[in-house]
Symmetry: C2
Subunit: 476 residues, 2 copies
Amino acid sequence: MKLYEQVANQVKERIDLGYYKTGDKLPSVRGLSQEHGVSISTVQEAYGLLIDDAVVEARPKSGYYVLQQQQPPELPAVSSPAPKPLVVAQWQKLQHMIGEYGRQDLVKLSLALPDMESPTLQPLTRLISQISRQETQRIFNYEFATGSVELCHQIARLAIDSGSRLNPDEIIITSGCQEALSCSLRAVTEPGDIVVVDSPSFFGSVQAIKINGVKALEIPTHPETGISLDALEMALEQWPIKACLLTPTNNNPLGYTMPDENKIRLLELLSHYDIPLIEDDIYGDLSYHLPRPRTIRSFDTEGRVMLCSSFSKTLVPGLRVGWVAPGRYYEHVKMTKYLTSLSTSTLSQPVVSEFIAQGYYEKHLRRMRKNYLRDRDTMIGLLKRYLPDGTRISYPQGGYLLWVELPGHVDTNELNTLARAQGISIAPGTLFSASGKYKNCMRICCVNSDSPEIEPAIARLGELCHELLAGSLLPE
Amino acid sequence: MKLYEQVANQVKERIDLGYYKTGDKLPSVRGLSQEHGVSISTVQEAYGLLIDDAVVEARPKSGYYVLQQQQPPELPAVSSPAPKPLVVAQWQKLQHMIGEYGRQDLVKLSLALPDMESPTLQPLTRLISQISRQETQRIFNYEFATGSVELCHQIARLAIDSGSRLNPDEIIITSGCQEALSCSLRAVTEPGDIVVVDSPSFFGSVQAIKINGVKALEIPTHPETGISLDALEMALEQWPIKACLLTPTNNNPLGYTMPDENKIRLLELLSHYDIPLIEDDIYGDLSYHLPRPRTIRSFDTEGRVMLCSSFSKTLVPGLRVGWVAPGRYYEHVKMTKYLTSLSTSTLSQPVVSEFIAQGYYEKHLRRMRKNYLRDRDTMIGLLKRYLPDGTRISYPQGGYLLWVELPGHVDTNELNTLARAQGISIAPGTLFSASGKYKNCMRICCVNSDSPEIEPAIARLGELCHELLAGSLLPE
C-alpha cells in the first residue's frame, strides 16, 4: 500500500470509529503531515483519495470536513433456493431482455451496461485507427488460438492487483467473459452433471448451464458474504457435484463480496471434494475501494480455479475481449475455445492491450470507481424515496448493479410488462434462478443514475409497485 | 446471365467441343457481333471474361487465340472410410498446426489463409477508422445477439447469387464460420449422437463433432461429385443418424462440388429420414466460373438446411465475421450463440457490411477468383513436376486448396515433421478423418503459388517424398 493510501486509511478509520462525525472539521494538512512524518503533498494526496471516495469534502479556504455517510439500506434476506438440482428454465424471458441492447426508446435499468461516454475512453478510437493502419497484415490474419501475447502479458500484470501471479501463457483470450465461462463449463462437465451456483445467480451462467445439458443446484446466499459454506458442504456431501460456478467479488446480481476467510474455506471444501471452481471476476476491478479484493484464484495452489473475466464491464462490451486462466484445465479449455470460434477478433486484442500498456486503463478505472460509487448511492437514495416501504436493497462495494427485493406479492415480471409499456425496463428476479424464484425481486443498473431521465423512471416504477400492491391493476 | 456472359459461354463451348484448339485464332469481334446481333463492346466484354478465365489470350494487332488448356491432373481415388461411427481423434496433431498462424519463418502450405495483401482489400482499413470515429457509441455497445441488421441485409442480398432467397431476419451473425458450425451442431445433436460427414472432411467440423461428444460416420466421397448418395442411403437405413454436415461446394479439402442433381437427391434423402443438413458454404463465393453453384439451401423448402458461411476465406479471417441461416432451427441456434458468446464483435460487422454495400466485395471477389484459378494451375504444375510419379491431385473449380494423394507408403505426418525442420508446413491427411485415415494424403494451400519461395518449397517436398519412398530416411 502506498504512503498516501496508509494516511487516508488512518483518517477513514477515525471517522468509522466515530472520532469525527458528519460535518466535523478534520485535522489540517500541516498537522497530519507532522503527526505522520510525511510530506504535505502526501497528505494532500490522502485527502484527494478520501474526496474521491465521497468520505470527505474540501471547503475552500477552510479545510476538510466529514461528509454525510449514507446509511446502508436494509439488505435483502438470505436466499433459500430449492435444495435439489434443477433443469434451468426462463429462456423465453431472457429473450425479451437481449432484444433491448440497441433500443434507444427505453430507460434500460435492465441491462448491465457500463458508462460508455466517459472521456477516459476516447483513446480507444484513436488506437483502433492507428493499429488498423500500422498493423494491417496482422489484424487481417487469425490471432493465435490462445490470443495475443502482448494482451496476455498485460492481463497477467493487472492480475497482480487481485493477488494472483499469473503467467501470460496460462491465459486464453476469449470473445468476452461469456465465452470464457461457457468454454470452462464445457471443459469440466458433461450433460446430466450437476453444477453448484449461488442464488440468485447471473442469468448468463445459469443459461449456459442449461444449454450444456447440466443441472444447477442453487445454494443459499447471504447478500454480504455470499454463498453459505455450510449449505455448500451439505450439498457436496449429498450430490455428485462436478463444478462450482460463482462471482465471488462484486457479485452480479446480489452485490456481495465473499470475505477472504470464506474464499479460503470455499477453496478448502472444493479441494476436499476435488471439484473445480469457475470464478467469474468480471466486476472485480470495479471495487470502490483499493486495494481491490483478492480473487479466489489468488489463494489457489492446485490449479483448481478457472478464473474468467473480460473488459466488457470495465471498458466497453463491443470489443468482445474476455479471458480465462483455466489452471490445470488449460488444454481442454484451449481445445474447446478453438473449436467454438477458432480465435478472438484480432483487432480488438492489440487495442485493449495498448490501452492498458499506455496507462489509459488505470486512469479510466479510477474515474469509473468513483462514479459508480456515486451512482450506487444516488440510486439507493431514489429507490428508498420512491419504492414502497419494506423494500430491501443490496449494498455492493463495487460495480453498478443493485438487487432490489420488493415487499408483499409484487411480481416483477408483471411490473416489467407494465414498465416497458411506459418506456422503462428492469431485469425481473426470476431470470436469476434456475427454478424461477425471486418473483418479488429485480436487478437495477445504476450507471449514470443522476441523468435527468432516471428519477422520473424510478418514480414511475414506484407508482406501479404501489398500484400492484394495492391490487388495482389486473395482470394480463 | 448477362448478354456478354452468354456470348463468352458460347465461345467457350466451341473450344470445349474441339472446334477451336490450342493456338487457334478465334472469330473476330466484328464477326461475333454480327453473328449474335450484339454490340462490339458486348463481344469485347465477352473476350475480357475469357481472358480473365485463362481460356483465351489477346495478341496485339492480331486478335484472340485459344490458350493452352491445362490437362486436369489424375484425381485421387474415391475414399473408403470405416463404415461405422467413430469417436474423433487427432486433436494433438491439429494443435501443431494452429500454432502456426502467426509464424513468419514457415512456408505455410498447411493453412487455408486467403490472399490478404490484395489491393482490393485496402478500403477495409479506411472503413475501420471511419466507422470507429463516426459511430463510436454504437461500436462500444453490444450488437444485437443476432447481429447487425445492415449486415444481415447485405448477406441476404449476396445469397441471391447462390440461388437462395433469404430473409435478413433468418440470419444470425457469428464469430466466424466455426461458431456457426459449432452452434448449429450443438442445436441439433446431443452427446452420443451420430453425425454423417464426407471423407476426407474439414478438421474444424470433425473436431467440433468430437467436443460435442458426438460420433462421426464418414461416407465414401468422390473427388468430383462428393459424398456417395448410395452409401449415405445405406448409412441412413442402418444407423440412428441425427445430422449431416457437409461442404458441398468447393469442398475443403477434396475440392469437389456436388452437381445440382446430387444436391437435390441428398435433400430428398435427408427429408425422407427427417434429418437436418449443416451446409458449410465458406468457399462457395470463390467459384472460378460464374454463375457460382447453387447451395443446397437454395433447393430447400422445409427449413431443413442450416446454411453456414463467413468472410474469413473471401475477405480476411481476423475480423471474425461469419453467419448462419438455421432454417427451422433458428430459435435454438440463436440461444446457443447467445449463451456461447453473447454477440459478435460490434466493429467488424458494419465494416464488412459497408465493404459489401459500397461495391468493394464484388470487385475483390472478381480479382480473387481469377488469381486463385491461376494459383491452382501454377501449383498443380509444380506438384506434377516435383512430386513422385503416381501422385494424384484434386481439381477444384473454386477456392485455393488442393488434396494430394502420394503414391506408396509415404506417411505425410513424417513428411510434415521433416518439412517443418526445413521451414515448410503441410496439412497431413490424417487431420481430415475421424479415424486417422489418409496417411498418404495432404492438403496444400495454393494462394500466391507464383511467389518466389513456393517453387523451391515444392521441390524440397518432392525430394523428401522421394527419400521417404526409397526408405532412405528413418522415421523418428
